[in-house]
Subunit: 259 residues, 2 copies
């Protein structure tokens, strides 16, 4: 078997610590090509660049790895890789991350890391987003590299069902080893925003978005539970958003004769 | 019953034609508050503004309607409305649009219009995104206002199941009346991107993202079929992305002893 072709992207930008570890792990498994944003894109969700131009240039920062930085979003980077950089070659795997911060539960919707993985899935490619649930500025990634490699190897061996990308979150480094992997559902939780209103030097008001993560979910089969209990969580995420169960319900409930 | 409180947002910006029609329709049903981006935000997906500040200011452009423009994304606008502008009042309905352009099928992932609606659903509020499948610069919205009002009324009467927002798309204006409404699933389709590479006046290359929409779906129960056949499509969209069926499959397939 020839070496697998692995496309790497992220949302923290091409110079971030997480992508260095991801590239290091993927080099053990195959030929790596990187296309990643030239600056941090956290919170970009599944944004794409339309109505504006995109830049793309090669960047010699990973040893023996073809790498490009782009002015675009994570989703743009995967599109640029697939339809321009790779010149007709098809990746065997798309990986994104390792994000510096959690993408569990509802954060998946806001996640640039996962938008790159979902963009890969849209292209029919096995795709994984990796995130470390540690927001501290000196977050320790040392306990995750071997797991990143193992999970990628499972996906290279077994593939992923059509229409699905994996959302992998790692617990922060603790004094005990990671207990293992749990295949999970997305926890039912939300961000409870608060807006911190301030005045600029000209007396005009502006806001910082802040807030707390609130977990409503009491189950033990979800990603929040897994991380809290020192397991790696893997949520298979689909891009078909249809709530199929709701279709017949709406057809039954909506009465056009008595509106 | 007191007048329902209706929050209006969009992604084309507060001065767009679509939001004017949406406000006009909603004023017939309740008290309207608008919080919308100060400039177009198409393709923003579920982006939110973190690490940067937000502006918010009142804007007197809709008669008898409290309105605010924000520097943020559509998702930011709904968060600002819920947690700041409305000062503890809870909307009975969140509506977004009317987007100038289609948000059927996979476009829902890239849609700022739908991110505002999904943000409403995350807050537990009945929420709808409206889009007109017509990209022409002089798109005619005249055939949709009565339908927008009717659909909003159904939702005010019947609510929407928890965790779901409605993605409503209208066919372009044709020489025949709209045939009715179909509650649909999201069509299986994708954007086939092409990147148009050019040189700037300094000789550096840049790209425009372009491409074609490719519909693989042969079914007659999806949103693309509905629009092509002059029906309004309504897809109930959920923010739980878990592919529940894949969880047991992965547990079965992944063999850690023979990696």
């Amino acid at each position: 078997m020839s070496k697998p072709l692995i496309l790497v992207s992220n949302d923290d930008g091409i110079t971030s610590k997480g992508i260095r570890i991801l590239v290091s792990a993927m080099k053990k498994l195959g030929e790596v090509v990187v296309v990643a944003p030239d600056s941090p894109q956290s919170g970009m969700g599944h944004a794409i660049t339309i109505g504006e131009t995109l830049r793309l240039s090669s960047e010699d920062i990973f040893e023996d790895v073809q790498a490009y930085k782009s002015s675009g979003t994570p989703a743009d980077c995967v599109k640029l890789a697939k339809h321009h950089v790779l010149k007709g070659r098809t990746p065997d795997l798309v990986v994104s991350g390792i994000n510096h911060g959690s993408n569990t539960s509802i954060s998946v919707l806001y996640s640039g890391t996962m938008s790159a993985a979902i963009e890969g899935a849209l292209e029919g490619l096995p795709s994984i987003g990796f995130s470390l649930c540690d927001y501290s500025s000196n977050a320790d990634f040392s306990h995750v590299e071997e797991w990143v490699e193992k999970i990628a190897l499972q996906v290279l061996k077994n593939g992923i069902a059509k229409g699905i990308a994996l959302n992998v979150n790692f617990p922060p480094k603790r004094n005990e080893d990671i207990k293992g992997i749990k295949i999970c559902r997305q926890a039912e939780a939300k961000w409870q925003e608060e807006f911190d209103e301030r005045l600029d030097p000209n007396g005009r008001n502006y806001f910082w978005m802040a807030g707390n993560f609130v977990n409503f979910d009491k189950g033990e089969d979800n990603d929040e539970w897994a991380i809290a209990n020192n397991y790696i969580s893997i949520v298979p995420c689909q891009y078909d958003l249809t709530a199929h169960h709701a279709i017949s319900q709406i057809n039954k409930d909506w009465d056009w004769d008595n509106l």
